[in-house]
């Protein structure tokens, strides 16, 4: 549950998120995923990172992941440095 910890505060505020999925996604999906940055990792995963306005937007992104049949590995809020 440590991943959700950061959510307990300010869950209605924008935050940075990293969505990890299996397989390499093309850069073209940036527009599809509301401007999230597509980073392909050496282990074959893709990280979608970017600002997410609120929980509703996050769930919308999850739905897109689902609809493309992409295997979802993790969703992590990123602490601002």
């Amino acid at each position: 549950m440590s991943e959700t910890h950061a959510l307990t505060e300010g869950q209605y505020e924008p935050g940075l998120y990293a969505i990890r999925i299996k397989g390499h996604l093309h850069n073209r999906w940036t527009g599809w995923f509301e401007g999230m940055t597509v980073t392909r990792e050496d282990n074959g995963d893709t990280l979608l990172t970017g600002p997410v306005a609120d929980q509703a937007v996050l769930h919308g992104l999850m739905k897109k992941v689902r609809d493309l049949g992409l295997p979802l590995i993790s969703v992590v809020p990123i602490e601002p440095e």
Partner: protein, 913 residues
């Protein structure tokens, strides 16, 4: 026709959503899955839950075509179906493909501005399903598109009470919010999940080498199967990429060694292998939910749409036909998403233009909802605002103002405000939803434009924005429409004289022959007279408005006014005329045949109330049950509210005062402000029940809260409250003999008597006279008591009043016996006293139970001992399945059993029947 309107002329139903997809000509046989599907028919539900592209829909359509001989209803869901009303409308439409008239009443009930509670609708629907003679399957395809708790709950309710002849199949990308654990535990559900649906290596081989005729080696098949993990869509894309390719081995090797998202990789391969014309066609049309040749042409600017769709289908390029004529198609959604992402990346500026073209075509081809969706997607709000404005009259006529509200709310406010016709429509939609306050700003916007126009050249400084009108016909009558909306709003707020002015203005503005627009204004005027206590004027005006509606064929409007006519006659103490009015309208309504017009259930309800007053209990209960049975399907939008009120009076008659209060509470929850005068407010009705329960302090608190006093100015709208106040005071006197209380009560009753006589409210005069008689009696003054009673008897006898006497209980019986001694109206008094006798003699025979069963429960218990099933018992008793279940539950609790057999046994043991 690819678009049809169902018979009730309501929600336009897209027939393509009900189309059972035909199986592919060549397919991989999947006997292991078919067998499980067949076995699953014994349960209630088959859940096929797997990600996109696992061949869920294909499997179901192949199963149905290959091995199922019974009837099938199909419904392909999309995001729009998250609206419960729309979901139910489509559900009924799907069921109607196997039983033509099923749920017609449910449909008409749905299309009201305030749809009735879902539970009642679903019960009615379940009862009808239970009447279907043969087993059938209902498929809900793409259930993941639903994102609404209300729909989930409705479906859970249907499943819980599913008649045995129906089996439900759900395909979805995510597990639905249904009680799956319970269904699993009871073995009522068969599940097929991703691991079941994946192609096994053997199936992959059949698919690649036989269906797609690729002639691959065993190693190549194995490599593809491994890389795709049996994902059907991926194997299909891979096969498409391989067709006609010389370097098969190289492709397989490259693909297997790549870790790109499979669909990305393969769609790119497929797109590369298409001619440029096909490629650009695919990309441009990917924004469409449904494709037809002409629509594609409009979007691409080419004229090869039909030919290309045909070629795509033959080439297996992920287009799915949506009808037998192969006119409408859709892309497989996974494929469409990938294409749309391509377009978004390659030609972002093009996307809104494509949506605009689609919107224009849909608008020209009678698909306003799709036209609005595309205009909003293009963020072309100006276009959207125009379309939404034009859509209002039809949406209002189909009772879809809720959906319409969703559209108008997506449009930036400044665009709405620049449009007087749109602003007024917005106000009316808000009024329909009972939101009188939010409607105010929109009404002001529309009015400001009219004022600006009227000021005209006198005011050279024109407003910053320009006025925009799209629906010119609506604009012409806008001043009258604004006045009518104002009349509605002001009356609902209780400002009677203001409302009269507005209605009058609307009527002055409208030409004589515009019956459709004059009708509502005239009816509002009648309601204002009523609220003012001008009963005869109100009656005449309302009756005239109804005749007008009838003339232009708007019979449902005509029927809806009957309740008002009946109530006015009751206030006037003219019960027989009220009965006549209801009976005549009922004949008129029944002559229309099925589906019954809305308002029919209200007519039975009105009759029930009248027969109850006249002491004809059998007829009263018969009509009440009839009203309940037709219930929400053939009732006006506030039927349930009225039903609860009437039922509460029956409960009170049966001495179930707690039950009466529950019903009044329910009525309170269902109350919403409308222009119909609230002449018997619920809070006062509740107070009368408290008085009967002896809860004097609660009743007194109500008096304080309402600020009531015996010296208040009297008006018709407060009459019921003031009579209630007199009752509270009389109870106070009987409790502690406070002389002040009885003096005040008598004083108030005298004033009320005069006011009611002056207003021609003879119904009230009778009640007041009876209270005067009781007040005198309480003080030991028999002679004046009998004088007052005589006055009541004289007025009441010709109209056949009974309950108004009997409900006053034993003090009234004693008074009547005194009157009898003096020879007053002997036949009538004898009848009344007999009614008292019945009321007293009705106490149930002694039962050996701590909580005895009611008459109704005994009746149900008797039938539980028979072979009849639940729905049959409900029909026999003329109650809803839900009501029947409640009775059964109560019986079980009282008997301490938990099933039918045990209940029958216990009934025997206790000799209850």
């Amino acid at each position: 026709m690819y678009v049809f309107y169902n018979r009730s002329m309501s929600t336009p139903i897209l027939a393509t959503k009900l189309f059972v997809p035909s199986p592919r000509p060549k397919a991989v046989p999947r006997p292991r899955l078919i067998e499980r599907l067949n076995k699953g028919l014994h349960g209630k539900l088959t859940l096929i839950s797997a990600p996109a592209g696992f061949g869920k829909t294909t499997l179901v359509s192949e199963w149905l075509a290959a091995s199922h001989t019974g009837a099938v209803a199909w419904l392909s869901l999309d995001e729009g179906d998250s609206d419960l009303a729309r979901f139910l409308a489509y559900l009924v439409a799907a069921l109607q493909t196997i039983a033509a008239n099923l749920g017609a009443g449910v449909l008409s009930a749905l299309h009201s501005p305030q749809p009735p509670p879902t539970g009642a609708l679903l019960t009615a629907l379940l009862n009808e399903i239970a009447n279907i003679s043969d087993d059938f399957i209902l498929v809900l395809d793409d259930y993941h598109a639903i994102d609404a708790t209300a729909v989930d709950q409705a479906l859970a309710f249907l499943l819980e009470h599913l008649p045995s002849q129906m089996h439900l199949v759900i395909t979805t990308r995510e597990d639905p919010h249904l009680p799956l654990t319970r269904l699993r535990a009871r073995a009522q559900m068969t599940e097929l999940r991703a691991t079941d649906l994946c192609f096994t290596p053997a199936e992959a081989a059949v698919f690649l080498n036989q269906v797609m005729a690729l002639d691959l080696s065993a190693e190549e098949v194995a490599a593809l199967e491994k890389r795709t993990e049996g994902w059907v869509a991926a194997l299909q894309l891979a096969a498409l990429s391989l067709q006609g390719r010389a370097d098969v081995a190289r492709f397989v090797k490259a693909f297997a060694g790549d870790n790109r998202y499979i669909v990305d990789y393969l769609v790119e391969e497929v797109l590369q292998r298409q001619p440029e014309s096909v490629r650009s066609f695919l990309l441009q049309t990917s924004i469409l939910n449904r494709l037809s040749g002409p629509l594609c042409n409009a979007v691409t600017g080419q004229n090869d749409g039909t030919a290309l769709l045909d070629a795509l289908e033959r080439g297996n390029l992920f287009v799915v036909p949506l009808d037998d004529r192969r006119y409408w198609f859709r892309y497989h959604r996974l494929f469409a998403d990938v294409l749309a992402a391509h377009v978004l990346q390659e030609q972002p500026a093009q996307v809104p233009i494509l949506h605009q073209r689609a919107s224009a075509w849909c608008a020209d081809n009678g698909l306003p909802a799709a036209a609005i969706r595309h205009a909003l997607a293009a963020q072309d709000f100006v276009r959207a605002a125009g379309l939404v404005e034009l859509a209002w009259p039809a949406m209002d006529g189909h009772f879809q103002s809720a959906t319409w509200l969703g559209w108008v709310r997506a449009i930036p406010d400044e665009l709405v405000r620049a449009r007087p016709v749109l602003s007024l429509a917005y106000a009316r939609a808000l009024l329909n939803s009972g939101d009188l306050e939010a409607a105010e700003a929109r009404l002001r916007d529309a009015e400001r434009w009219m004022e600006t126009l009227a000021a005209g050249s006198e005011r050279p400084q024109a407003p910053v924005t320009k006025m925009i009108v799209v629906d010119v016909a609506q604009f012409r009558t806008l001043p009258a429409s604004i006045a009518t909306a104002r009349a509605y709003q002001t009356l609902a707020r209780g400002d009677v004289s203001g409302s009269v002015k507005y209605s009058q203005r609307a009527l002055d503005l409208l030409p004589e022959e515009d019956h459709l627009r004059r009708g509502p204004a005239a009816a509002l005027l009648a309601l204002a007279h009523w609220a003012n206590g001008d009963l005869e004027a109100a009656y005449q005006a309302l009756a005239a408005a109804m005749v007008n509606f009838q003339k232009i064929g708007a019979l449902h409007f005509a029927i809806s006014g009957t309740y008002g006519l009946g109530d006015i006659r009751i206030a006037q103490g003219r019960l027989r005329e009220a009965v006549k009015t209801y009976t005549q309208t009922l004949q008129l309504a029944l002559a229309q045949g099925k589906p019954l017009l809305r308002g029919t259930a209200d007519l039975y309800l009105g009759l029930s109330e009248l027969y109850r007053e006249q002491g004809d209990e059998d007829a009263a209960i018969h009509n009440l049950l009839h009203s309940e049975e037709l219930g929400e399907q053939a009732g006006l939008s506030d039927w349930r509210y009225r039903f609860c009120r009437v039922q509460a009076r029956f409960k009170a008659t049966q001495d179930d005062l707690a039950g009466a209060l529950d019903l009044l509470d329910e009525a309170e929850r269902r109350y919403r402000r409308s222009p119909v005068p609230d002449v018997r407010p619920l809070a006062a009705m509740k107070t009368r029940v408290w008085v009967a329960q002896g809860r004097l302090s609660e009743a007194q608190r109500w008096v304080q809260e309402r600020g009531l006093s015996v010296d208040d100015a009297l008006s018709y709208l407060r009459e019921f409250e003031h009579i209630t106040l007199a009752r509270v005071l009389m109870t106070e006197y009987s409790r502690n003999h406070a002389d002040r209380a009885i003096r005040e009560a008598v004083h108030l009753l005298d004033r009320l008597q005069q006011a009611a006589e002056a207003g021609g409210r003879m119904g009230s005069v009778i009640e007041i006279a009876l209270l005067q008689a009781l007040a005198h009696q309480a003080q030991g003054e028999l002679a004046p008591a009998l004088v007052a009673l005589q006055r009541a008897l004289t007025l009441a006898e010709p109209e056949g009043y009974v309950r108004i006497f009997v409900d006053e209980g034993s003090p009234m019986a004693a008074l009547l016996r005194e009157a009898m001694k003096q020879g007053a109206a002997p036949n009538y008094v004898r009848r009344l006293l007999a009614a008292f006798g019945q009321a007293e003699g009705r106490t149930p025979t002694t039962q050996l139970l701590s909580e005895p069963l009611s008459e109704r429960e005994l009746e149900v218990l008797r039938l539980l001992g028979t072979e009849l099933n639940g729905p049959e018992i409900a029909r026999k008793l003329m109650v809803s399945l839900n009501t029947m279940r409640t009775h059964t539950k109560n019986i079980y609790t009282k008997l301490g059993v938990n099933n039918r057999q045990a209940a029958a046994r216990r009934a025997d043991e206790l000799d209850l029947l």
